[in-house]
Symmetry: C2
Subunit: 356 residues, 2 copies
């Protein structure tokens, strides 16, 4: 390994690349990682020298607080290669701002903006071969922060590690998605951490999602924990409902993640003359619309799939199928966003961020 000093990031390159061993046509989401990772440690009240090092295990004391108290936040982003080998990010400022908001809610220190962007750009340039051309190909980027102080005292850690790892991804298609509307289990509480992209919000959903899987649903749409009358989000996606020609989606709150794709969907829809009502959406309204035939679409929005159309949903004992449509809002909005992401269209919103 040779060591180079690039202010302020210290770079230690991998001896060789693993890329030749990777089958890019058969990738499982989030399980193959690039040759390098970005790391930066927080000790004694400040972030130390950011480093890029060969992808390698983390070595942590068994008492590190992340294991015991889930002081941990993350982000999900993607890098895209256009047809002229330009490399782009999509609204990375949103992810940067959100990881720091999440950190504040979890009593963790904010990360400096220049470390984040310089670290990310340097890492992407170093591992640029992993970002492949072509529809659906991208590099999934996972920044995360974990509490590392070795002590099981139930109080905020004094030490943290900021890490970025990257995983090549293909177009995400998990088959037809049917969702279950939650009527017992909950994702988050008013006054809780639901708006933070905190690790703690995710593991909690696995058990109720397993139960839904057994009933034939792939995901759960969460409702408010007080009454289960209002639709909130799907845990890894925000959710949109099309009734007639209007799109409905729940407002963000301290229970709902302020999704980057969610706000992009709203902007693209409105720019295309679609009325978007951001307001509390009642389960009974959606059930009634499904029964009367005015419910045209349900889709989720998130970084992994951009837009994920929903084929049907279940609520208590009832099951509903959604009509199949060739001119869906979902496909129109998805195409518009993807064309911006891959630099195949104008970017009227200023969302693209050039890496190289």
């Amino acid at each position: 390994m040779k060591t180079e000093e690039v202010t302020p990031i210290k770079i230690k390159k991998a001896d060789s690349s693993k890329i030749e061993k990777v089958d890019f046509d058969h990738l499982t989401f989030g399980s193959v990682f690039t040759d390098h990772m970005f790391v930066c440690d927080y000790v004694n009240g400040s972030w130390g020298t950011p480093e890029i090092i060969p992808y390698q295990p983390l070595v942590l004391d068994p008492s590190a607080r992340v294991f015991h108290y889930a002081q941990a936040v993350f982000e999900g982003m993607k890098a895209y290669r256009d047809d002229k080998d330009g490399i782009w990010l999509f609204r990375p400022d949103e992810n940067f701002n959100r990881i720091n908001k999440s950190s504040v809610r979890m009593a963790m220190p904010e990360f400096p903006e220049d470390y984040f962007f310089e670290g990310l750009k340097t890492l992407l340039k170093l591992d640029e071969k992993w970002i492949r051309k072509g529809e659906g190909n991208s590099l999934y980027i996972r920044p995360f922060v974990i509490a590392t102080e070795p002590s099981v005292m139930a109080s905020p850690s004094g030490q943290y590690k900021f890490v970025i790892i990257c995983s090549p991804a293909q177009s995400y298609y998990g088959g037809e998605v049917r969702v279950k509307i939650a009527d017992h289990y909950s994702r988050s509480a008013s006054g809780g951490i639901g708006a933070a992209k905190a690790a703690a919000n995710y593991g909690a959903q696995f058990y109720p999602t397993n139960l839904a899987n057994k009933e034939g649903y792939q995901q759960v749409i969460w409702t408010d924990s007080n009454t289960h009358e209002y639709l909130e989000e799907a845990g890894t996606m925000n959710v949109f409902f099309r009734i007639g020609d209007k799109l409905l989606t729940a407002p963000t709150s301290d229970r709902i993640l302020d999704g980057v794709t969610r706000k992009s969907v709203i902007a693209v829809a409105e720019a295309n003359g679609i009325t978007v009502e951001v307001r509390p959406v009642k389960v009974e309204e959606i059930v009634a619309a499904a029964k009367s035939g005015t419910l045209k679409e349900i889709f989720g929005s998130g970084t992994a799939a951009v837009i994920n159309p929903v084929a049907g949903f279940g609520y208590k004992e009832d099951k509903f199928e959604l009509p199949k449509s060739s001119d869906s809002y979902a496909s129109m909005i998805k195409k518009a966003i993807i064309d911006i992401q891959y630099n195949r269209a104008e970017d009227p919103f200023g969302w693209r961020y050039e890496v190289r």
Copy 2:
């Protein structure tokens, strides 16, 4: 290091002990650990050979799911040495049952009972010098389970690690404790994971607790997230209120941890002729009792402090001080429980568990 084979636990002893370097008179809670740890890995649908190894860092892929989705649960227990060098645990069956209940809620595999008890006893015997005689001295035991599969897919991990680490502890006294009654932030939702001893329930409390600290309170008493009208628990303790001669505490629910010390307090109180009302407790009832002078005590119950008396509390703009009493229920019940823990009294409940 020499390796011994003791069925079914594989033991690798530390070359030397760190115990001589430890200042047992000035221990910080949860930051010094004994010479050995217990580990057992879950792969391909089953738990592998349990091992005791020298205390050492965990080496995990940066994509291990515990870092990203907080699939992690734990327990808190203590071992005590009596005056005749007997070593005892307190109701360990409760901790064993609870860690598996917590695991089920977090979509994690249950751990076998014989591995747990044999592992724990073998570990305690090996590190028995770390369990010191004398009032207040104990060995704090932290069993925990973390999701280790290297993949950032948002679904349950296929690999886990069960670990037990141990930390010598002194009598826990954090000075006078004043608590803030939550009127905005929440610990857990109905239908959520509040009843599980999941890592995810803890980090979420740090930020609101920091805010309370700034107002002069050491801890927060959480209220229900729907209305903030009912008192629930204190995050690391269950809470009891004495009005007149009665003790009140909230019933357990899917939002409240079923505390081992909590149920021990109820049993000891009732055996001593004290009426314990386990029912929803309204904030306004406690505030009214504080104003009228019938509120005699508030105390928390938990493994770390057994009983933690509360000197005062705040609710919205009001602050209340509790009377100082020489014949408090808190001190009577604490003594009764500690005498059982240290084998200084009869054990009518059958709570003591002999390690050696």
